[in-house]
């Protein structure tokens, strides 16, 4: 295991791609705290969060091809995967009759992340290193902007659902989300 601890995220993910269980264990040790915290914030239940976390690592094991495609950015791929899975669980628990059947096709389309083919590399250490700057950038957003980001990311609401919840037009929500993320990006760049 000591060898694996010195491996980069990309090296670890490549090993997972070769079905190396020790690599998966190292990936779990490295990422389970942040993934678990994210999942728990979304599903708001300890037991459910634990189940979803286990499901996420099973998906990592099963979808080694997808992860290899995003091998340059293990962090964003894993965070997005955990978020998608947690939001799906939350929505299924809230509206079991309205959700489509969960099968391989659904999983491939809505759960497995499709990262941009020209995304910059990012790993856990690098992400944590910009935490303070990011927090500062986020704090510069208005409360309304922060709120729509919260509803979309942690509550798993879509444009239409946010519009309905806030009783505002969908176009306004779209615009608000676009401006929020654009400003956040701008704040982060100018703060660095």
């Amino acid at each position: 295991m000591d060898d694996y601890k010195s491996f980069s995220d990309i090296q670890i993910m490549n090993k997972v791609g070769e079905y190396d269980s020790k690599a998966l264990e190292e990936l779990y040790d490295r990422y389970s705290p942040i993934l678990y915290s994210l999942i728990k914030k979304i599903v708001e239940d300890k037991t459910k969060a634990e189940e979803v976390l286990a499901d996420v690592f099973v998906l990592v094991w099963k979808n080694e091809n997808s992860s290899n495609k995003s091998a340059a950015n293990v962090y964003t791929w894993l965070i997005t995967l955990a978020r998608n899975k947690a939001v799906d669980r939350k929505r299924r628990d809230e509206n079991p009759d309205l959700m489509p059947e969960y099968n391989d096709d659904y999983e491939d389309r809505f759960i497995i992340p499709r990262l941009s083919k020209s995304i910059d590399p990012l790993d856990l250490n690098k992400a944590l290193s910009v935490k303070d700057n990011f927090e500062e950038a986020l704090n510069k957003l208005t409360d309304a902007q922060n709120f729509v980001l919260y509803l979309a990311y942690y509550e798993g609401r879509t444009h239409g659902e946010i519009a309905k919840q806030l009783n505002i037009p969908v176009a306004t929500v779209k615009s608000k989300i676009k401006v929020s993320l654009s400003n956040l990006k701008q704040n982060l760049v100018s703060g660095e």
Binding site: Y19, S21, I119, Y153, I177, L184, K185
Partner: protein, 265 residues
């Protein structure tokens, strides 16, 4: 130049994961078709959104969760194994039924030579069933997991049996039984052919062995015969030499005696 995606305010929403289904479908379509698709912008926003969880208070999951992951992976391996066994079982039943039907109708099947290309796939699938028990583990936790073999990897993504979750039960829908029956038939044919060929080879090698043994025995007998023949010739010649020596000695003695007499007289 502003692309369609940007003008429709979909890029940031896609990165945030909040597109309505119809917008998501449109986004996917544009991603494939739009030549000016802003891939780099999308990447920036995906990374930006992924920073959000760094601000959450980090909690460490219970150690049992790790065991649970190991258990789930083990179950995944078991599921794949069971599915493959079930698949083989169903194919066997289908094959038997098909054979019964063929026998009933008195139809003679002619094997298609071009089916041979598919044989390795079937062979591997069948081999996997016995080979699906490779163990790997989160050994530190004493829980066994299974590592799918190369062929099992294919099956994880493209299962021979398509599983559908629904309600409390699980529906298992077998796929391509006819195709697989054909593959199994070809395999059976090849297997039978191989056995016969192997039998032929075996009898050939046996007769070769017998010929070799006979040749060896005959050669050995010939050598023994030559040995004894030469030995007897040698002995005969020796005897002759001995006789000749004795005759010579006798004649010499006789001559000596005669000479002695002459000398005395």
């Amino acid at each position: 130049m502003m692309s369609n995606i940007e003008s429709m305010e979909l890029l940031q929403a896609k990165a945030l994961g909040c597109l309505d289904p119809e917008d998501d479908a449109l986004f996917t379509k544009l991603m494939k078709e739009d030549e000016d698709f802003p891939w780099q912008e999308l990447g920036h926003y995906q990374n930006l959104v992924a920073f959000l969880p760094t601000l959450i208070d980090i909690e460490i999951p219970e150690p049992e969760v790790k065991d649970n992951v190991a258990r789930k992976l083990y179950e995944l391996g078991e599921k794949i194994k069971t599915e493959k066994e079930e698949d083989v079982k169903q194919n066997t039943i289908a094959k038997e039924e098909e054979l019964d039907k063929i026998e009933g109708e008195g139809v003679i099947i002619e094997e298609e030579p071009n089916e041979k290309a598919e044989i390795p796939v079937v062979e591997k699938d069948l081999d996997d069933v016995s080979d699906a028990n490779k163990e790997i583990s989160f050994k530190e936790h004493g829980v066994l997991m299974q590592s799918p073999s190369n062929d099992e990897k294919k099956i994880i993504r493209k299962p021979l049996i398509k599983k559908q979750q629904g309600g409390s039960g699980t529906i298992i829908t077998p796929t391509k039984p006819k195709k697989e029956f054909e593959q199994k038939s070809v395999k059976s044919y090849i297997s039978k052919f191989s056995t016969e060929a192997a039998d032929g080879e075996s009898s050939k090698s046996k007769s070769g062995l017998i010929v070799a043994v006979i040749f060896f025995v005959v050669t050995l007998l010939a050598l023994i015969f030559i040995y004894f023949k030469l030995s007897s010739d040698i002995q005969e010649n020796r005897d002759r030499i001995n006789i000749l020596e004795k005759q010579i000695v006798a004649e010499i003695m006789l001559e000596n005696t005669l000479l002695q007499k002459d000398f005395n007289t």
